[in-house]
């Protein structure tokens, strides 16, 4: 850690990891409800738990991005963060908002109130006051990091990172627009959801990955920066019109079936470029960095994002295929591996890299950390396979043969059991990961050569 204000990241990572634990615990609970639908049915119904599962995921990933940015920007701009006080205030607002959301969902407070009650559009169910708070926090954050960069060294990594973060804030403003016409509502709702995860989030992902490659492999900045602009370009060139794959069946014109099919197929390309980038950098790099676990997570991120977002996305993105798979367990399988591979892994990679520096110790607990990578990734892959098979059966029975929804669901029990078993394995791996990053050890298991 070269700059004092990088320490801000530590507070963000602690919050992010706490929410990560909540997300997975709730996820395992939901998985159990699939097997025993009456579990908690009167206390906290499925929809409430599902909101907590998805919302905590989104918030912790963003909190992780904010933390990573506060860590990266000082090193890139070569100066301290403009105002650490603003950074901590921003975190306080986010924590307050998150607590407000949890309490509002759990106890259904202020039901129907336009300002204080939950709003109930998927993923953006937060009460309006929380959304306004998020916007304020985002503005504080953007001011803080943008000023730091403007007054300091300007690098491609910082540029792409900032552009991604500005995009996140700008597209989030669409939460304020909720037309009565469901088709219009859906069309612009995707401006938040798709243009985030298949657009500007990819820029953040590429920037964090590039920063890690710079530090871990010691490859020339010049080479890394060329790659990062290339990956960012591929992401947005394909991802923007790739939004079309959500415009097939919501009342939008038929031409989206062509545009969506073509451009979202090409969305595989930036993810493949990230795989090539990460492995080429490691191959070219001269540095033997002691933090092997961070390297494993970073490479794992590139590969799993390629499979989860790329391959599993392509699996059901062509319009004639999507006509049958839209809104089935196939979608679920893709959602789980894509979020895990791309955004969970990049956060865990960065935290694995930064935590020893933030806590002022060598990268101890590496072996256990790497074990947690394999167990967690194996578990997530198993969940994905189970849901993919469930989806294939569901598509045939429901979409081809026309059997009723619940009749079909009742036949998928085996897959849901397999999924739940793998979910428990993931939870164990998450607890193991948290232990390895937060609890210091006094000796390293594998001997490491001194860096460089």
């Amino acid at each position: 850690m070269k700059y004092q204000s990088q320490k801000i990241a530590l507070a963000y990572f602690i919050v992010a990891m706490a929410l990560f634990a909540v997300q997975i615990i709730v996820g395992v609970t939901i998985g159990y409800i699939y097997l025993n639908p009456h579990f908690l049915a009167d206390l906290t119904p499925f929809n409430v738990l599902r909101m907590l599962h998805t919302n905590s995921l989104i918030v912790w990933l963003l909190t992780g991005f904010f933390g990573a940015t506060y860590y990266i920007i000082p090193e890139e701009a070569e100066r301290e963060i403009e105002s650490p006080a603003i950074a901590y205030l921003q975190l306080a607002i986010l924590v307050l908002g998150t607590a407000g959301v949890v309490v509002t969902y759990l106890f259904d407070l202020f039901h129907g109130n336009f300002l204080l009650g939950k709003q109930g559009r998927e993923f953006i169910e937060q009460p309006l006051w929380v959304q306004l708070g998020i916007i304020v926090a985002a503005l504080m954050f953007l001011y803080n990091v943008t000023m730091t960069v403007l007054k300091g060294r300007k690098t491609a990594v910082a540029n792409v990172l900032l552009l991604g973060l500005w995009g996140i804030a700008i597209f989030f403003l669409f939460v304020l627009y909720n037309p009565d016409n469901l088709s219009l509502d859906k069309m612009f709702w995707w401006w938040i959801v798709h243009l985030w995860v298949e657009g500007v989030w990819e820029l953040v992902l590429a920037a964090i990955l590039a920063f890690l490659m710079l530090k871990l492999t010691g490859v020339d900045r010049e080479i890394v920066e060329k790659w990062i602009y290339g990956i960012a370009a591929l992401s947005l060139f394909t991802g923007i019109l790739g939004t079309g794959h959500h415009y097939y069946w919501i009342g939008t014109p038929g031409y989206w079936q062509w545009i969506g099919s073509i451009f979202s197929t090409l969305e595989v390309v930036p993810f493949f470029a990230m795989v090539l980038f990460a492995f080429t950098m490691v191959w070219k790099g001269q540095r033997n960095h002691p933090n092997k676990a961070a390297m494993l997570w970073a490479l794992g991120c590139a590969v799993l994002a390629f499979f989860g977002a790329g391959i599993w996305g392509f699996l059901h993105t062509l319009a004639p295929v999507n006509y049958y798979t839209h809104g089935t367990q196939i979608t679920m399988s893709h959602g789980h591996l894509a979020f895990y591979g791309a955004y969970v892994c990049i956060n865990l990679a960065f935290i694995t890299y930064a935590m020893p520096k933030l806590l002022g110790r060598e990268p101890y607990n590496q072996v256990l950390n790497m074990v947690s990578f394999w167990v967690m990734s194996g578990g997530m892959a198993f969940i994905t396979f189970a849901l993919t098979f469930a989806g294939a059966v569901q598509v045939h029975l429901q979409r081809v043969q026309g059997n009723a929804f619940m009749e079909v669901q009742n036949q998928l029990g085996l897959f849901y059991m397999l999924r739940e078993g793998a979910g428990v394995v993931v939870l164990i791996a998450v607890l193991l990961y948290l232990y390895t990053v937060f609890v210091p050890r006094t000796e390293e298991v594998i001997s490491t050569q001194p860096a460089e």
Binding site: M51, G120, R121, L182, A233, L236, W249, H326, G402
Partner: protein, 140 residues
């Protein structure tokens, strides 16, 4: 140095290019939605209020509507056609709220009276949206 600034210029120029096309197509889609695929004349106060009821109870975090949602409970974009009209939809919601014997039990949201009727209005309006013939069959 040369190639890096070229890469950057391609990135910014191309992004603007694709975003402008996207905005143009979305603008066209907007007018398609309000003139062709949805019926704005039948989008009454009741339908709008029904959508609020749909949202306030976070129905989408179990059900799907036009294929989007939580995949835990049946598709409702075509429920009005599947059950055969507004009254049947109202009857179904009432029955589901009270029946605790279902495999996947719907919570009792206590939706009744005008709220219940408007929710059904919203679902029946939704079933009139022209969705390129999705879903493939009545099962949704």
């Amino acid at each position: 140095m040369q190639t890096k600034s070229a890469a950057r210029n391609i990135f910014f120029g191309g992004t603007i290019f694709f975003f402008v096309i996207f905005v143009g197509l979305v603008a066209h889609s907007y007018s398609y939605i309000v003139t062709t695929s949805t019926n704005v004349k039948t989008l009454t106060e009741a339908v709008a209020h029904g959508k609020k009821i749909w949202e306030e109870n976070a129905c989408i975090d179990c059900h799907t509507i036009l294929g989007e949602g939580a995949y835990y409970a049946p598709e409702l974009g075509n429920v009005c056609k599947r059950l055969g009209g507004k009254d049947a939809v109202m009857g179904m919601i009432e029955a589901r709220q009270e029946n605790e014997e279902d495999t996947r039990q719907m919570p009792n949201f206590n939706i009744k009276g005008k709220d219940l009727e408007d929710l059904a209005e919203f679902l029946c309006w939704t079933s009139t949206i022209k969705t390129q013939n999705w879903p493939p069959n009545e099962a949704g």
